[in-house]
Amino acid sequence: MSEQRELPELGFLALSRFAWRQLTSMRTALILLLLMGIAAIPGSLIPQRPINPMAVRDFYRSNPELARWYDRASLFDVYASPWFSAIYILLFISLIGCVLPRSVEHYKAMLAKPPATPKNLTRLSHYQQFANADEALNRATQWFSKNRFRVRIEGNSISAEKGYLRESGNLLFHLSLILVLVGVSFGSLFGMNGYAIVNVGERFINVPTTYDTLSFGKLKGDNSLQPFQITVDKFDAKYDPKTSAPLDYTAWVTVEDEGKISKKVVKVNQPLTFGSTRVYLQANGYSPVVTVRDSYKNVVLQGPVPLLPQDGNLRSIGVIKVPDADPAIGFVVSFVPTNARTASQGSISIYPELLDPKLLFSIWQGDLGLDSGIPTSVYKIDTKNMTQIGLGSVKPGDTFNYSSGSITLETVVPWVNLQVVQDPGKSYALIGGILAIAGLLTSLYGRRRRIWIRVSDSGVEVAGLARNSAPGLEDEVKKFISFVKGEK
C-alpha cells in the first residue's frame, strides 16, 4: 500500500505503437478468431431479419419484451451488427498488420542467401561425420542444385535451405482471405437484388418499377440496371404423383439483350447470365385470369391475378381489387389447383398441378382504401370500411353473378418468381477462395529445412534442421550423404 509504482509516461506515439503491437500479436489474433466463431452462433439460433423477417415478426408477437432487448443488441441482424463487424474488422486489421510485414520479410529472405554454417554442427540434429570423400563439396553442390536447394558457399562449407514455399503458401492463404473480404464488401456495396413475379406469356423489363421488391447496394445508383427483357413463353413443373414433391421446374423464355433476341431455358440450378447479373427461377404459383363486370355488363377488370402459394400443393390466397367498379369491389380469394372437400377445412388442394382447379372467394363492397395515399399490399384488403355481400366459387369457364355484377374465371396461368441479382464482387471472392486453398495446401504440406556440410582435415561433417519438426529430413540427409560419398 505504501509504495506506489510510477509508470513511465507514455507518449501518444508510444501508446499507439503499444496498441498496434498488441492488436497484431498472434495471441490477440487467436482470441479474435475464436470470438468470431462464437459471435456467429446466435445468428443461427435466433431468427434473422434479412433471412426470415416473418419469423422475427412471430418472435416479436410471442415475446415482445425479450424481442426488444434482442433488437437493442442487434440479435435479429447479427451479421450486420456493430459488434460482429467490430470483431471481423479488428481481425482483418490484425491479419494485415501481421501478414504485410511478414510478406516483406519473406521477400527479402527469398532474395538473400541462407544463413552461414554454424560453427558447431555437432549439436544439431542428424549430425554425422565420416572420412573425407573425394570432391565432397562439389558433389554436395551438385546434389543441392539437383534438389533445388538455395545455397551459401563459404570456403570449406555449404549452407543449404529449401522449403520457402511453406511460408509463401501461408502468406498467400492469408492475403487471399483479404481478397475474399474485398469481394464480399464490393458485392454488397455495388450489387443489387430484386424479385419479380411474371405471369407466363408476360414480359419482364429490367427497370426498377417492374420489381415487386428491389434493394440496391449502398454505392449503387438505381438507374444502372442492365437493359434486358425476358418474356416467359412457357413454364413446366413436374411433381411426384405420390408425394407431390417437385421433380423439375423449367421455364422457357425469350431474352432480348442489346438488340439480340434469343431463346433460353431457365431451371433451378441453371440461371440466366447477363455479365455480372444473373436471373434465377426461384418460385412459382398460379394466376387465375378473371373478368369482372359491373351491373351494366361493362368489363371493369380483366387479366391474370397472381396469388401466393400456401403449401406444397399450391393452395393459394390473395385478393382481386376492382377499384373501377362503382361502388368499389374487392374479392378475398383462395385458389386450389386440384380441389378436394374435407369436413374440417373446407376446400383443400391435394395436388399441385391443375387437375381440378377451383377459385373460392368472398365479395366485399365499399372503400378499398386505395385513395388514401398510403401504399397497400396487392395481396391483402383492409375490409374495415367494407361490407361482405356474398360468397362463391367458380371453375374455369364459369361465371358467378352477385348483386352488383359478375366474375368469370377465364383460365389459369402459372407465374414464376424471377430473382435478379447483380454481384460484381463474387469473382474476386471466388479467386480469393481458390488462392486460399492453393496457399493452404502449399503451407500445410511444405517442409522448410536446412542441411549443412563442412569439409575439414578431420573429415566431412553433415547436419540438418527441420522447421516445425516436420518429418522426413532424416531420410533426406541419408540420401544426401550417400550421394556425397559417391555411393550413388
Partner: protein, 304 residues
C-alpha cells in the same frame, strides 16, 4: 421395380448391422483378453517392472473381428449402392442416406488404414460407432426412397457432399484420437496404463496424429465450403447467406483454423490442443445433428 431395390437396400443395411454387432463382440473379446501376461514372465530391470505382453492368445479373435468388419463393409456397400439405384441418384439425398454413406466411408477409411498400420485397437470403437450410426439412421431418420427436389439436381451435390463427408469423417476420427489422448493422459499422470490399453500408441503419437488428421483435411473442408458457396450461387442466387448450415460450417472452419494456429504458431500441445480439437469437432457434429433435425433454412430437404 425401384421400390424392390429400396427393400433390397434395407435388407443389406440390416445384415450389415448384424455383422457390425458380431464384429464389435469379437473386438470386445479381443480387447478384454488380449494382454494377459504369462506367469512369471515379468522381469525387472533396475527398479522397473517390465511386463511381457502376449497377444497370441487372441490373435484369432482379432482376425475374426477384422474379417467380420470387412464383411459388414461389403454388405453396407451393397446396401448403399442398392439405395442409390432405387432413388436414381447419388445416395446422399437426405439424412438417412447421408448417414449410411457416412458409416460406409468411415469403416472404409479404417479398413484402408488397416492395410498399412495395425490400428486394431480402434476396431472396437469403429464397429460400435458404425452400428450406432446405422441404428439411428434406420430407426429415426428413415425416409422412403425418393427423387431429388430440383434444388439438389446438380453435379455439385456429388462434389460438395463428398468433400463434406470425407472431411467430417476425418474430423471425427481426429476427435476420437484427441479423446483417447485425454483419457490416457489421466493414467499417465498417476502410474502406468491398465493392461488392456497397452496397445494404444504413446501420448506423443496420439497428439501428433490428431494434428496430422486435421492438417490433412482442413484444406478439403475449405474446399467443401467453397464448393457449397459456388453451388449456392447457382441455385439460390447468393454464394453466402448465413443460412444456419452455412453459419455452422463457418464456425467449424474458424474453430479448426484457431486449432491449427494454436498448434503451429503458438505451440499448443497435449491437453489444451486436444480440448480445442474436440471443441472444433463438436461444432461439426452439432451442425450435422442440430441443423438437420431442428434447424430451419435452406439445407433442410424432404423432411430430413
Amino acid at each position: 421395380m425401384l421400390t424392390t431395390w429400396a427393400y433390397i437396400s434395407n435388407y443389406f443395411v440390416y445384415s450389415a448391422m448384424a455383422v457390425f454387432a458380431l464384429s464389435f463382440v469379437a473386438h470386445a473379446f479381443e480387447t478384454a483378453f488380449a494382454v494377459r501376461t504369462p506367469e512369471n514372465a515379468d522381469t525387472t530391470e533396475g527398479n522397473l517392472l517390465v511386463k511381457t505382453l502376449d497377444y497370441k492368445r487372441t490373435e484369432k479373435a482379432a482376425r475374426i473381428a477384422t474379417a467380420l468388419m470387412i464383411l459388414a463393409f461389403v454388405l453396407l456397400l451393397a446396401g448403399v449402392v442398392a439405395r442409390g439405384i432405387s432413388a436414381e441418384h447419388v445416395p446422399w439425398g437426405n439424412m438417412y442416406e447421408f448417414s449410411i454413406t457416412g458409416a460406409l466411408a468411415f469403416t472404409g477409411a479404417y479398413l484402408v488404414a488397416l492395410r498399412k498400420h495395425d490400428l486394431r485397437w480402434l476396431g472396437l470403437f469403429i464397429s460400435i460407432s458404425a452400428l450406432l450410426t446405422l441404428g439411428t439412421a434406420i430407426t429415426l431418420l428413415y425416409r422412403d426412397s425418393a427423387p431429388l427436389v430440383p434444388a439438389l439436381q446438380s453435379t455439385w451435390l456429388v462434389i460438395h457432399v463428398v468433400a463434406a463427408i470425407i472431411s467430417g469423417g476425418v474430423f471425427l476420427l481426429a476427435n476420437v484420437v484427441a479423446g483417447a489422448y485425454l483419457y490416457l493422459e489421466r493414467f499417465e499422470d498417476k502410474s502406468a496404463r491398465p493392461v488392456w490399453l497397452q496397445r494404444v500408441p504413446s501420448l506423443e503419437l496420439l497428439d501428433q496424429l490428431s494434428y496430422r488428421l486435421v492438417a490433412f483435411v482442413f484444406p478439403l473442408w475449405t474446399f467443401s465450403v467453397i464448393a457449397g458457396a459456388i453451388w449456392a450461387e447457382a441455385a439460390w442466387g447468393r454464394y453466402w447467406g448465413w443460412d444456419p448450415k452455412e453459419t455452422w460450417a463457418f464456425i467449424t472452419w474458424v474453430a479448426y483454423a484457431a486449432y491449427l494456429h494454436a498448434r503451429v504458431t503458438v505451440g499448443w500441445r497435449g491437453r489444451r490442443a486436444a480440448w480445442l480439437c474436440i471443441f472444433a469437432g463438436s461444432t461439426f457434429l452439432f451442425n450435422y445433428v442440430y441443423v438437420n433435425v431442428w434447424g430451419t433454412g435452406k439445407h433442410t430437404y424432404s423432411g430430413l
